[in-house]
């Protein structure tokens, strides 16, 4: 492998990129927007149901307010409560009757009025009904027939839930890398379209040098962008070396995919259409990063799953290198499959 030839080509491509100021600006603006989106997103995850309560003469402290997952806002008048519900400031408002405790003490059924906003989903109504009944059972001291033997599976994040913006980090990293699939594919297909590849291949430069140069450039561009993003948002605080390694392997993965697309496409329109489809497929596992457990095992067929899982477990769950080394190996394997397939297809086209 001739390093001089490869470096010559990389320098040529960087020169071409530098001529395209619009491309540079757009790339930087894109990165800035992703970073801005991260910081604009809420830093905490609200895991409580908000309830407005009107309880004349009754202290709610020992009933509703003590229930885990419930945030209670007392109101001093029924009209204020109803107004707040109507304006959707609170999805639910509960008005406890003044004689609630007396009725319960005498064994009578008390009527509790629950105000719902018209847009409150049905599932919320059922949940509130169950909560109020639970509260009533506690107040009346009724015997609970269940003994729950609870086992928490996985780390218990109650009260310290991963905020949305951190759940989105793997998705944003994949989006940044995923777009580079298209860029790399078009780096190769443009040479083919403009026929400059033929001019290059009648010199000492061979196809392997050309593809190596494109691969190195593609990996470099993808890697730099995603590392920059992760650095700014503080995504390198836990096991930075492992994260950087994972992102590097992820960059290799998208480069391999870019090769595959370049071998399938005949022009820039082909790159766009194939690229868009593969990009969407590549993106599907990112949903699993946002909503754990949503994807079944079939999602593991998609190579980006291992990248998402890697970034998610490392940044959000404190996983270590040894726990994630399997992901790295699988990503490298897929990279090899894509890269080799694409290379062989391109070689057939050019000897």
């Amino acid at each position: 492998m001739n390093a001089r030839l490869i470096l010559t080509l990389i320098k040529k491509d960087l020169t071409l990129f530098s001529r395209n100021q619009f491309y540079f600006v757009m790339t930087i603006v894109g990165l800035v927007l992703y970073i801005a989106l991260y910081f604009v997103m809420p830093q905490t995850l609200d895991e409580n149901i908000k309830l407005g309560v009107y309880t004349p003469g009754i202290q709610t402290g020992s009933s509703l307010a003590g229930i885990q997952g419930v945030e209670v806002q007392p109101f001093t008048s029924l009209d204020e409560l109803k107004d707040a519900v109507k304006k959707n400031e609170y999805p639910v408002g509960i008005a406890l009757p003044e004689d609630l405790l007396n009725k319960i003490a005498t064994g009578e059924q008390a009527v509790v009025t629950v105000y719902y906003s018209a847009s409150t989903p049905d599932e919320m109504k059922g949940a509130i009904n169950a909560l109020i009944n639970q509260m009533a059972y506690f107040i009346t001291g009724q015997d609970i027939p269940l003994v729950m033997q609870t086992e928490i599976l996985g780390p218990d994040l109650l009260g310290t839930q991963i905020p949305w913006r951190d759940r989105l980090v793997p998705m944003m990293a994949v989006l940044i890398l995923g777009t580079e699939i298209l860029s790399l594919a078009s780096l190769i297909s443009t040479e083919i379209e403009q026929d400059t590849v033929r001019a290059l291949l009648v010199t000492p430069l061979k196809l392997r040098h050309l593809l190596s140069a494109k691969a190195l450039l593609g990996i470099g561009l993808a890697f730099i962008q995603v590392v920059l993003f992760m650095t700014v948002i503080g995504g390198l605080t836990h096991e930075p070396a492992t994260m950087i390694l994972g992102l590097f392997v992820g960059s290799i993965l998208v480069t391999g995919l870019g090769f595959l697309i370049a071998s399938m496409a005949h022009d820039s329109m082909g790159v766009t259409s194939w690229g868009m489809i593969l990009f969407i497929v590549f993106f599907i596992p990112a949903i699993g990063g946002m909503v754990p457990g949503i994807l079944s095992d079939w999602a593991k067929v998609i190579p980006s799953y291992y990248l998402i899982d890697f970034v998610s477990r490392l940044s959000n769950y404190g996983a270590t290198f040894s726990e994630l080394s399997g992901n790295l190996m699988i990503m490298l394997g897929w990279s090899a499959v894509f890269g080799v397939t694409g290379t062989l297809a391109l070689r057939r086209r050019y000897r």
Binding site: N20, F22, M26, Y34, P42, E47, I49, I67, Q68, G69, V70, V85, I104, A110, V112, T113, V114, Y115, A118, S119, P121, E123, M124, K125, G126, A127, A130, L131, I132, N133, Q134, Y137, T140, Q142, P145, L146, V147, Q149, T150, E151, L153, G154, D156, L157, L158, L175, T179, L182, L187, S268, M269, G270, T272, S273, M276, I280, I284, G288, G293, I294
Partner: protein
Amino acid sequence: MNIKRIFTLLGKELLHGPRGFILTMTIAAPLLITLVVNLALGDLFTSTAKLGVYDEGQSQLVSLLENAAQVRLLQYQSPDTLRDAVSRGATDYGIVLPPDFDSSLESGQKVALTVYVWGESLAKDRTIITATLLELTNQISSQTEPIILESVTLGDQKSVPWSQRLMPLTVMMAVFFGGLMIPAASLIDEKQKRTLQALAVTPASLPDIFIAKGMMGAILSIAMGVIILLINQAWGESPLLLFGMVVLGAILAAEIGLVLGTLINEINTLFAVWKFGGLVLFGPAILYMFPELPQWLNYIFPTYYVTGPIMDISLGTQGSQTLLQAGVAIFIVFVLAVLLSRLINRLSGEVPQHSLKEAETVS
């Protein structure tokens, strides 16, 4: 501008254009986008807690849980698969119902229940599931409820499930995705291959060419939007109005695509624009999904003036605000059309009239 030539060019685009690209955008992309949205976004924002059950004794609790709107019931074939599902987060809670669950409750005995809790389960979901289990087991054990609940609905909005709320957003994503990329990529491709110049020296003018490309993008993106609506049966109560807004969105997307295609000379730059442009286009969708974010940001996204009316029409809450937003969208379409005509003039090297007048004045 010649209508016949425009349709000739449009025919060329559709019949002899990049078929793979067209097929991808009209068939594969809508299906995939629908899959993505149905897979996750509905689940992402629903307030339904998930409860997994392994029932050893055909308890009536299962049928009661199936009818409980606040909990989504998932049944598993063994304790191991149930435990695995909980550990993955596929369900918030997992309970193993022993064979004698119902009989024990009916006879007034306490029942020990194995409960697996997903560590990332939200506090409210844990509470809802626990409260629901208690409520329903009390029903089975025929305990009298100490209170009667009277529900009162305030306001006149409609309660709409999340999947239905998100569908219009999905449609707009698809419409803008295709409507923007198709004309942009097509124009850049023609410029790179220099076929644009070849066309421009025929009786077909540059405006004819641009209109044909814009129409192709708009038609294909409308097709994408309609296909998604059909797959998901999400026409709502005013299908014609909804279709009208989809058409308006498609035209807006096509215009943006044409502007980009004129300004950008090579495909890599289009992809770079897409990287950040995606965020700009789908900003209203992100703001809708996260109401904690400052909602005034909506006003800066041009797509808001299409997605807003689409949301209102699909929820049946259209009003004067809807009309205003649609009016702004139409205004943006007009402004973009003017911008495009200037760009086309610049592309063809024509001198604008006011510059001619200036030249006369100077001389």
